[in-house]
């Protein structure tokens, strides 16, 4: 087994955490994942986008929670004991994202990843890095860092908000 992993590493294979949103299977770089936990009650934030459910207390750190199902318009949005939150570490921040479920960790070689298809307009494909296959099922690989840093996520304060407050 160890041998297998090392040969995989040599050949440039990368590991992906796969998760489901509705009927679709997604994958993200496992190195960005800090932990996986259940969904807890959140403190909602006023005037925030719909998909920002609020913030939670993660061992003393205030972490925003984003519901990917709302963000991607996928699946039914219900919160029960099976709802999973993936805590990720991107852009020097800790962010929690709600998904329908976490399935597996798969290793993919670069040649196992196909370029994403062109959809025209409608689905935002700019965050999709490629399409992989795991156990015969299609896997949509996402660039989670780019996704979270996007302006539409409103997670990172834009420069216009940062200007000096001169109302002294």
């Amino acid at each position: 087994m160890e041998e297998m992993t090392s040969t995989m590493a040599e050949s440039g294979a990368r590991e992906y955490l796969t998760f489901t949103l509705g009927k679709e299977e997604y994958g993200m770089d496992i190195l960005k994942v800090q932990e996986i936990r259940g969904y807890d009650a959140v403190t909602s934030i006023a005037n925030a986008p719909q998909f920002l459910k609020g913030v939670i207390n993660l061992r003393g750190v205030i972490v925003p929670i984003i519901d990917m199902r709302i963000k991607f318009n996928l699946g039914t949005v219900a919160y029960d004991e099976f709802t999973v939150v993936i805590i990720i570490n991107v852009l020097g921040r800790v962010i929690g994202m709600v998904v329908d479920g976490v399935s597996d960790v798969v290793s993919l070689l670069p040649d196992q990843i196909k370029p994403p298809p062109e959809f025209g307009t409608g689905i935002d494909t700019q965050y999709i890095t490629g399409i992989g296959t795991s156990n015969g099922q299609m896997l949509i690989l996402t660039d989670i860092e780019k996704l979270m840093g996007g302006a539409d996520m409103q997670l990172v304060e834009n420069s216009a908000d940062n200007h000096l407050d001169l109302a002294a």
Partner: protein
């Protein structure tokens, strides 16, 4: 003016040591051919801060030495002079001299004035564009310059007597010779100096001395530079052979008996001036370090991150304790008496621990404020001005980390106010003001922020001069800029409108430092100024990691924390007291009509009580004006630890951060002032 400054000496010494270390780190890493501008600014700022502090505490020698250093640095920074390796060396030498002076003030260690003077001379000669050999190891300096032979070359006689441990220190000799050869014609003779017999021969020791004759156009200090990192001054002798004596039988041959065995085996423990760092690096007094003695200081400096960690863990402990206490409630006190006793003990211990941990960080701002009366007094005398300093709100508690970082910016602001703001007594009289100016230093905690103001009743900022200066400095400006925008220009690095550079201010470094330091703390700086009436600089800092007394309130299913110090009173309004003004509800409280802010509407919370007469109205103070906040009910009073929302998310309008409640949930802390802004901006219903 009898403020006892000695209690701050330690802080000054520690800060200066840090600044010096930083300066050295940068200077050692800087590339003289392509210096990074930002690094030059950083070195300059470090020097400026040391100078400011030294002047404040009356260490004139340190201030003047640093001033010399700063002057040259300033010209380099403005690209009037190009940085050379020689300059970097001179800077480092001066830095060592300053460190020595610092050690002198701190530990009363002996100070070698000659070294200080030589470092200063070196700097001045570089600045003056002349190259007097400032450090002449062994020469009669007077003749040194006049001994060039007609073809411009000088004959040097060099005797290099390396210490026995030369090779152990990792020094290679060949490159030295190569470097000398590159300067001119070199002939070398090696001598075996200290060598008894082969039985005691140690192959790792150096037993050789070299006599060299060099014909070169290079200057003396170029030669000494080559040996700088290799030899102490008594290990190398460089002499200039007089042209007249060229044909004589080497009259200036160095006395070889000065190089005795002692000298080689025990290479001069004392050579305080020259580059202590290339050798005695670990010596107790090197770099002005405090010698290790029995009297260790009674305080330790700990990284702020460690304290932060401690506070975070403390917060976790409090939450865990609250959780346990809640669970323990379910057990019958009669059957589980010892459990309940234990829980009570745990609660008390946790609270004590929390108080101790918090007290590590909190300090009254008087710690920095009280150093200013002296500063203003001395400075006013120096500038021939009359000024009075008023301190307001000295007991405001502030995070220690912030206090330390505030010292530099505040010093600069006060100095600037006095130097640029307050006019001379005659000018003031002409303007119809009291001859003596007033500077007010005020600190207050308003809602979620600490606000520190430096107010003077001087001449105010000169808009046209700032604009003109900005144009000269190549900044993008236009006449249509608002006053606020114009005032912001003075925060640009190297910006100064002072007509003459004094050692007080005018280099334009002050505001630059202020801005950088305050921004690093997550704060903002703003200026208001009125020509002829004075100006006010407002530094507003976030309350990160400070603790706050707050009242938790419920709105719908949400819990908020309202800072206790902004609450005036809470009441249940009578229907008669409620009126509307063009649709907006007002509450009458003792004859005053206050606008009613409905938290549930501002934060779109469903399920809150809509009828004010069935809910609770809190009268709060929002930056001087009173407003009424509508909440469902008041829950509890707590001390809460403020956690930043920005760490992982972004600032949320109307809040000063968040905190974690006893049940582990997050509650937002309201910033009442900001909330009012938010409410005004929102479309009214």
């Amino acid at each position: 003016m009898s403020a006892d400054l000695s209690q701050f000496f330690q802080v000054f010494f520690d800060e200066s040591t840090e600044h010096l270390a930083e300066m050295e780190r940068i200077l050692l890493s800087i590339d003289p051919h392509a210096p990074d501008e930002e690094e030059l600014h950083a070195v300059f700022r470090a020097a400026h801060s040391i100078k400011g502090g030294a002047a404040t505490f009356g260490f004139g020698d340190m201030a003047s030495t640093t001033h010399t250093l700063e002057s040259l640095l300033d010209r380099v920074r403005h690209q009037e002079l190009t940085l050379t390796a020689e300059m970097v060396d001179a800077f480092l030498e001066t830095k060592d001299a300053i460190a020595m002076l610092l050690a002198g003030h701190r530990d009363n260690t002996p100070v070698d004035e000659a070294v200080v003077a030589s470092a200063c001379n070196k700097l001045r000669s570089i600045e003056g564009g002349e190259h007097h050999p400032a450090v002449e190891p062994v020469t009669d300096g007077a003749e040194a310059l006049s001994t060039k032979s007609p073809d411009g070359t000088t004959e040097y006689r060099i005797v290099f007597t390396p210490p026995a441990d030369l090779f152990k220190r990792g020094v290679r000799v060949e490159p030295l010779f190569e470097e000398l050869v590159s300067l001119g014609e070199l002939s070398v003779t090696a001598r075996v100096e200290v060598f008894d017999d082969f039985n005691t021969y140690d192959p790792e020791q150096c037993y050789l001395c070299w006599d060299m004759t060099l014909l070169s156009a290079a200057r003396l200090e170029e030669l000494s530079d080559i040996f700088m990192f290799v030899a102490d001054e008594d290990e190398i002798e460089i002499q200039i052979v007089e042209p007249a004596s060229l044909h004589k039988e080497s009259p200036a041959l160095p006395e070889t008996d000065s190089i005795n065995n002692d000298n080689v085996s025990n290479p001069s423990p004392e050579s305080p001036g020259r580059r202590l760092y290339d050798k005695n690096e670990t010596a107790p007094n090197a770099f002005g370090r405090r010698p290790v003695d029995g009297t260790e200081s009674s305080s330790i400096r700990v990284g702020v991150s460690k304290v932060d960690q401690l506070i975070n863990q403390m917060g976790e402990l409090v939450i865990t304790q609250a959780m346990l206490a809640q669970t323990a409630q379910q057990f019958d006190p009669v059957l589980y008496e010892s459990l309940h006793r234990g829980m009570a003990l745990l609660q008390r211990n946790t609270r004590d621990l929390q108080e101790s941990v918090m007290s590590i960080r909190m300090m009254p701002i008087s710690f920095i404020f009280s150093r200013f009366p002296r500063l203003v007094h001395d400075l006013a005398a120096k500038l021939g001005k009359q000024a009075e300093l008023k301190l307001v709100g000295e007991t405001t508690e502030l995070d220690k980390g912030l206090i330390e970082k505030l010292a530099d910016p505040l010093t600069h602001l006060v100095r600037n106010s006095l130097d640029h703001g307050i006019e001379s007594p005659e000018e003031r009289r002409q303007a119809g003001k009291q001859p003596g100016g007033t500077i007010i230093l005020r600190a207050a905690q308003t809602g979620g922020r600490i606000v520190i103001e430096v107010i003077d009743d001087g001449a105010g900022l000169n808009r046209s001069r700032i604009l003109q200066k900005a144009l000269e400095n190549g900044l993008a400006v236009s006449d249509e800029m608002s006053d606020e925008e114009v005032w912001q220009l003075i925060f640009a690095p190297g910006f100064s409108t002072a007509e003459k550079v004094t050692d007080v201010s005018g280099r334009g470094v002050g505001m630059d430092v202020v801005m950088k330091n305050v921004q690093a703390m997550g704060g903002r700086v703003s200026i208001t100024s009125e020509s002829g009436k004075g100006s006010r600089v407002l530094v507003s800092l976030p309350l990160t990691l400070a603790i706050l007394d707050g009242l938790s309130v419920r709105v719908g299913s949400e819990t908020f924390i309202v800072p206790l110090n902004s609450i005036i009173e809470s009441l249940q309004p009578q229907p008669d007291d409620l009126n509307t003004v063009s649709g907006n509800t007002t509450v009458r409280v003792r004859g005053e009509y206050l606008p009613l802010l409905r938290l549930n509407e501002i934060y779109s919370i469903k399920g809150a009580v809509a009828q004010p007469e069935q809910a609770v109205v809190m009268i709060v103070d929002a930056e001087g004006e009173q407003v009424a906040l509508l909440v469902d009910e008041l829950l509890n009073q707590h001390q809460v630890v403020i956690k930043s929302l920005e760490t992982n998310y972004r600032k949320v309008d109307g809040t000063a951060g968040a905190t974690i409640l006893g049940d582990g949930h997050v509650a937002l802390i309201l910033d009442v002032g900001d909330l009012v802004h938010l409410w005004r901006k929102a479309p009214q219903i």
